[in-house]
Amino acid sequence: MNQPLFSVTNLSKKFGKTIACDDISFDLWPGEILGIVGESGSGKTTLLRSIAGLIKPDQATISYQGKNNKLLNIDQMDEPKLRHLQRTEWAFVHQHPRDGLRMNVSAGANIGERLMANGWRHYDDIRKEAIKWLEAVEIDAKRIDDLPRTFSGGMQQRLQIARNLVTNPRLIFMDEPTGGLDVSVQARLLDLLRGLVRDLGLSAIIVTHDLAVARLLSNRLMVMKDGQVIEHGLTDQVLEDPQAAYSQLLVSSILQV
């Protein structure tokens, strides 16, 4: 394919006087994992939520190459169509599992919701699929009827991922997916994510303030500061030879750890 999967042009978003995203443009190519890094408050979450259609940017042209090679204008799309896309071809993993899970229904129902929303009406089939995905994210299938609140933070995050992947999306947006987790739990989740993304042939946009996470997962890197993209390139290049002074600072501080 010689078309980008996802293309963002001139995206801006203000909150009052705060310019959270300032005229951002980039492409994502099929099969690519794009990392967006930058310190807290640099506009990463706002950018991710804007391009995934969760909030409305003030200005942007966003296009997505849908299944069957249909080019879709996301910024013009009406809400029912957008929602359909969000629950079929796309996935969104929130930083806090509680924002991405239904805490008051079982793990199985959490995974099954997207299937049911897409018309699945056979209980046993839904259940089998839920078990398959619990196992794929390394949660004991015996926990299928348990509430997420009885799960550890790492398990909740894996459940959120399973809930998202169950419809075989093509593009996954992740906001600090390893954010609130212990270091050892982070490592396991990262391994799992890397494996899933590779095995399922997913394209992904991953926001993180953690360069180590970005290095492990992404092919390409965008560095953000004060709502602007200040550096953009292949991950290895950016990390080995950062151009912007800010990126140099970021890289030197992180890679010592």
């Binding site: 029912p80 629950r87 239904r102 229904v105 049911m116 009406r121 209980y123």
Partner: protein
Amino acid sequence: MNEIPPKEPLIETIIEPATQIDPNYNFAYLNEQTKKMIRRALLKAVAIPGYQVPFAGREMPMPYGWGTGGVQITASILTPDDVLKVIDQGADDTTNAVSIRKFFQRTAGIATTLNTAAATVIQTRHRIPEQKLQEGQILVYQVPIPEPLRFLEPRETETRKMHAFEDYGLMHVKLYEDISQHGHIATTYAYPVMVENHYVMDPSPIPKFDNPKMNNNPALQLFGAGREKRIYAIPPYTKVVSLDFEDHPFEIQAWDQPCEICGAEDSFLDEVIMDDQGTRMFVCSDSDYCQSRSEVQS
């Protein structure tokens, strides 16, 4: 089983005639402007079957739990020639039913009845009469919580969108949870339905036994939620389907025995305690249905 002969129509004998209106009230309590506003909401509700129409509900001289939503609808549709029946859990003689009936006798001076067939308007809490309703009849339901998606999605902005976009995965999540916890769909009251292939609707806390009666019913069905100020409707002969799974199909309640008073096998039964020895009996919850069947037999 005894052969039960078909029921005779006894209509003339069972209507309690019109009474004197209390002159301190406008007809049926509400002022004409309020009634017009409610009728407009009703027309919209009828035009979009199953859709919840907001309305500027009025304070009624009774607490919300007493069916103020239903009372406001009834007040807005009554005409002096109507014959009103009021039931609560199938019975005409409970405090709630009696007081609403008296309220309209006093404020509208209309005739009332206990007999389903003789009524033109039936206000109900928690049941649909066993006797088949007819064209021209109106069934008014008292609704405590109109939003079927509320328990899983508390945000009103979100549930509105789910309805508008027919984004109803969540409704099946509830049924899924039922099965995963109980092995079957354990929801027995307020069992969700889909109206005319679009809106998912809470039928109010009627037993699921009554759900099939809503489908293709010749009568007009109106639903009023007083506290939440919502009105919705099922026009006559509308398709109403109870939600389910292919491998766990919708089923109504069934009993191992007929009604111990009238012998009905097709009626919703309540278990009642008959004396202070704790003797239990299964009898029709619809007292008019049970009585009229027993009268015919004796």
